[in-house]
């Protein structure tokens, strides 16, 4: 009897957030839709969306898709074994492990990425080491490979943490049961561990894919401004080209990929167990 009105008042606690979300999440997104679908005079147009079909923009989008897919794949390959090793460790160390991955963020993201310049340059640290061992010098900086490296480096924690969270929650008894019933290591992995970790994997994939797809900073710093990704095109539309309508239009097209990723999460990770943190 007492609980019904109590629940109602408790719901009111979400009020400030609702107000905030509408003002600073929903309305701003509608602004992008508005700008994206109008021209400079405010008349309705689809021209801004069509801009994406221009060869330069299409190329930037294609390259961004390619590089972000490659780096997502690398992140997954690197992160899964890592998460498995970490999840075997003592349970009490969870917060410590999370911290190890969060800790680098206390050094600024731009500085960390910039440090890769020093490492990858022609006379940089890596080439100096190669030279020391009389190995041929590699040209590393300002290549798509350098950009992929920057993406993997920056976004790897976002792949490791969700997978780790899911893996460490798997009931050990399930694994023992599989073993008792005669499954070998590989079978236990493919039949038990892998399927149970899907929410973490999906969450990790979106957490890496979306920022890689839309970055302009990493391509700027490690690509020598030679390699234009869709993020760079949009940033330039806003900051240099001063055409906000085209920029918004391109962002709208880009959001198709973001929405697709969100849909994927909703489908595979209903309970939100695969969240990174």
């Amino acid at each position: 009897m007492r609980r019904q009105p109590e629940l109602k008042t408790r719901k009111l606690l979400a009020g400030p957030y609702l107000f905030w979300a509408v003002s600073f999440i929903i309305i701003p997104l509608l602004m992008i839709v508005y700008y994206g679908l109008t021209d400079t005079d405010g008349a309705f147009t689809l021209m801004n969306l069509a801009k994406m079909a221009e060869p330069e923009n299409l190329k930037a989008l294609g390259l961004a898709l390619l590089l972000s897919l490659v780096s997502t794949l690398f992140c997954l390959i690197l992160a899964y074994p890592l998460a498995m090793i970490l999840s075997e460790k003592n349970v009490n160390q969870t917060s410590f492990i999370v911290l190890i991955f969060i800790l680098p963020m206390w050094m600024n993201f731009l500085l960390r990425t910039l440090a890769w310049q020093t490492l990858l340059e022609k006379n940089g640290v890596i080439n100096s080491i190669l030279e020391f061992f009389h190995l041929p010098e590699q040209s590393l900086i300002n290549t798509p490979a350098a950009i992929v490296l920057g993406m993997v480096y920056n976004f790897l924690p976002f792949m490791v943490l969700p997978i780790y969270n899911v893996l460490s929650k798997i009931d050990k008894d399930v694994i023992y049961a599989a073993r008792d019933l005669g499954a070998n290591g590989l079978q236990t992995f493919t039949k038990i561990i892998l399927p149970l970790s899907v929410p973490g994997i999906i969450s990790g994939i979106t957490m890496v894919f979306v920022p890689s797809l839309t970055t302009f900073v990493i391509s700027d710093l490690l690509g020598g401004s030679k390699i234009l990704l869709i993020g760079n095109v949009i940033e330039q539309e806003f900051k240099q080209g001063s055409n906000w309508n085209v920029g918004s239009g391109l962002s709208l097209v880009l959001m198709i990929f973001i929405i697709a990723s969100m849909a994927l999460i909703v489908k595979y990770d209903k309970e939100g167990e695969g969240t990174a943190f």
Binding site: L13, N108, F109, L110, A115, N123, Q240, S251
Partner: protein, 627 residues
């Protein structure tokens, strides 16, 4: 055995990758030179200079205050929201969680842009408050997502038992629910704080003039090389956090040790818990808040007289700002840009009312033609008499009648090359198309400069609007692209000094500085001709402090100030009285800094070619960049 060894190696490798850049930055913070690309002996001086660098300290405090406030507010709103959402029906709960996921999953760039559009549409002045609002927005989801799982774990029955025993809902909440979800709230807060600290993209779009977080400060420095103090600062921050975390992690060791410890150091244990969980956070917060007040009060100035200056990056001796503030009592809000093309839309949009801006020749003309500039009242600038007539005459090409602009610095564009790396004589732009120097060529990353090089090489005018000529220039640039190591603006300087490239297109003002640092470098103006440019001070029409701006410009025209500026940035001054004061003979007589203008027959000044042609240039440039 082999398996565990392999696991260890794997872990070690990943951590090497994760922490290698951090180690690099720490090493750089002890490097005894300003350039990133060379090791020049050990020094601790950057750590000392850091605390005298008001810009960086200001940015640090802004960053910390925004992180703290946004994390606190987000924690409040987010925790309340989590409690409310928990009480909702499943369908509405899903909807709410969906909205919560938007800022987490959406691209930073889209979130940043959408907020910027909102702020501008609703006439918010971009600045500290807009950054704060944006940070709260993206921080709330982290809090909600940290609190929700803990909330799900709390048992309803204890709470109901408390109610049955006569506790009011509020009392029961504080006594029963809150202690249970406290770890979630705390980690949410910490996460929000860290995310705010590390954010660049969203701040980049929502910030205004004079407000910088560490991220945006670093980004504005990227093009010309980060100041080593920045490395020192991040090393200090990193080490502090690392130590704190290690100490905190020491305390909850396994139960066995704790028990034995408690016997021996019972009180100490309790003390350390109180110390780490209460004293240190409280101390950090106190330092941040007092520091913030001290800096913000010293920052804005009490008189309220100010001038908002928008200048090229690293284009003014910072001591001059201090001198000006001392002499006039006018506070200078200073912001920097990288290229004319970045500056123009910001002034045009009117979102920020700048008082003094320093565009190049053709951009001055564009701003005049688009009615963005105010006529300068030269009665307030008596020092204009120190500017040589020849530069005033040159200025009439883009500012007829010298009404809108005051020449500030001038120079040429040429090739800087490394004598040890280039064998043949350098006298033509053609060398930038020589296969031999593949991956050793640095081009300018701005549309007019890049096309200027190609057009001049082809024998056309810098200001060509002939589509065939432009098409030919575009083809040439695309042909050159595989040979180019990078398209850069001010980074040419660092890279040439560090022997990273053999040839680079550079402004004459930078060349002098490079030669000082690396004597192997030489500067030439190619025989086909080049660009002769003038950067001038102008006052936008929407300026709110026009007279202060004029006082500022007048101050810069003073010979002793012009000389001070030259000695700092080595760009040529249009001020012979100032030049005569330069103490260093080599610099005063340098033909790079002060070429005889009458000798530069093939050189032209950029003109504004009309908005339509501007669009064509931009399109062609994009084709080059994405080829």
């Amino acid at each position: 055995m082999i398996k565990t060894a392999a696991k260890k190696v794997y872990l070690a490798l990943i951590f090497l990758i994760l922490y290698a850049p951090i180690l690099t930055l720490m090493v750089l913070s002890f490097n005894n030179t300003k350039t990133r690309s060379r090791w020049n002996g050990f020094t601790g001086k950057w750590y000392v200079q850091l605390f005298h660098n008001e810009d960086i300290m200001n940015a640090l405090y802004t960053t910390l205050i925004i992180a703290l406030l946004s994390a606190l507010i987000a924690t409040l709103i987010g925790t309340a929201a989590a409690l409310g959402i928990q009480a909702m029906k499943p369908r509405i709960r899903t909807l709410f969680m969906g909205i919560t996921n938007i800022p987490m999953l959406n691209a930073d760039i889209v979130t940043g842009i959408s907020l910027m559009l909102l702020f501008i549409a609703f006439r918010f002045t971009l600045g500290f408050s807009t950054i704060l609002l944006a940070h709260i927005t993206f921080n709330i989801p982290y809090v909600i997502l940290s609190v929700m799982p803990k909330l799900r774990q709390t048992s309803k029955s204890t709470y109901e038992a408390a109610l049955d025993l006569g506790a009011s809902p509020v009392y029961a909440f504080f006594k029963v629910v809150l202690p249970d979800i406290m770890p979630g709230i705390f980690s949410g807060f910490l996460l929000a704080f860290t995310m705010s600290l590390d954010d660049f993209v969203i701040t980049h779009f929502t910030k205004g003039p004079g407000v910088d977080t560490l991220s945006t400060k670093i980004y504005s420095e990227v093009r010309k090389g980060i100041k080593p103090e920045m490395y020192a600062l991040s090393t200090i921050m990193f080490i502090t956090v690392l130590l704190l975390l290690m100490l905190i992690n020491m305390s909850p060791q396994n139960a066995e040790i704790r028990r034995t410890k408690r016997i021996h150091f019972g009180n100490l244990q309790k003390f350390s818990r109180v110390f780490f969980h209460r004293v240190i956070p409280a101390a950090i917060i106190a330092v941040i808040i007092t520091g913030g007040f001290v800096y913000s009060s010293s920052g804005t100035g009490s008189s309220g007289r100010q001038v908002i200056v928008y200048n090229w990056g690293d284009y003014l001796n910072p001591d001059i700002i201090d001198l000006f503030e001392e002499e006039t009592g006018i506070h200078v809000v200073y912001e920097e840009y990288e290229t004319n093309e970045i500056m123009y839309p910001k002034v045009q949009s009117g979102a920020i009312a700048y008082d003094a801006v320093c565009p190049s020749d053709y951009m001055v003309q564009r701003m005049i033609e688009n009615d963005l500039l105010a006529e300068i009242n030269f009665d307030n600038i008596p020092n204009i008499k120190y500017i040589d007539d020849i530069y005033m005459d040159l200025s009439t090409e883009f500012d007829e009648g010298n009404k809108y602009s005051v020449p500030y610095l001038w120079g040429t564009v040429g090739i800087l090359y490394n004598k040890t790396m280039v064998d043949e004589p350098v006298d033509s732009w053609g060398i930038l198309w020589n296969e031999k120097y593949k991956d050793s060529i640095l081009m300018q990353d701005s549309v007019r400069d890049a096309f200027g090089v190609a057009l001049k090489y082809l024998g056309y005018s810098l200001n060509s609007t002939d589509l065939d000529e432009l098409e030919a220039a575009k083809k040439l640039l695309i042909e050159q692209k595989p040979l180019v190591q990078a398209y850069v603006v001010d980074q040419v300087r660092d890279k040439m000094i560090g022997n990273e490239a053999a040839l680079g297109v550079i402004y004459s003002g930078e060349a002098l500085y490079c030669q000082e640092e690396n004597p192997d470098l030489e500067y030439v103006i190619p025989k086909e001709g080049s660009n002769l440019w003038i950067d001038s001070w102008v006052i936008p029409k929407n300026a709110r402090n026009k007279e202060n701006a004029e006082a500022f410009i007048n101050f810069l025209c003073r010979p002793d100030i012009a000389k001070m500026n030259f000695e700092y940035i080595t760009y040529s001054i249009p001020n012979s009285a100032g030049r005569a004061l330069i103490e260093n003979d080599w610099m005063r007589n340098s033909t790079i800094a002060f070429p005889d203008i009458s000798q530069l027959e093939n050189c032209e000044t950029f003109r504004f070619l009309g908005d339509e042609n501007e669009v064509i240039y931009n399109e062609l440039w994009r084709e080059v960049k994405s080829s």
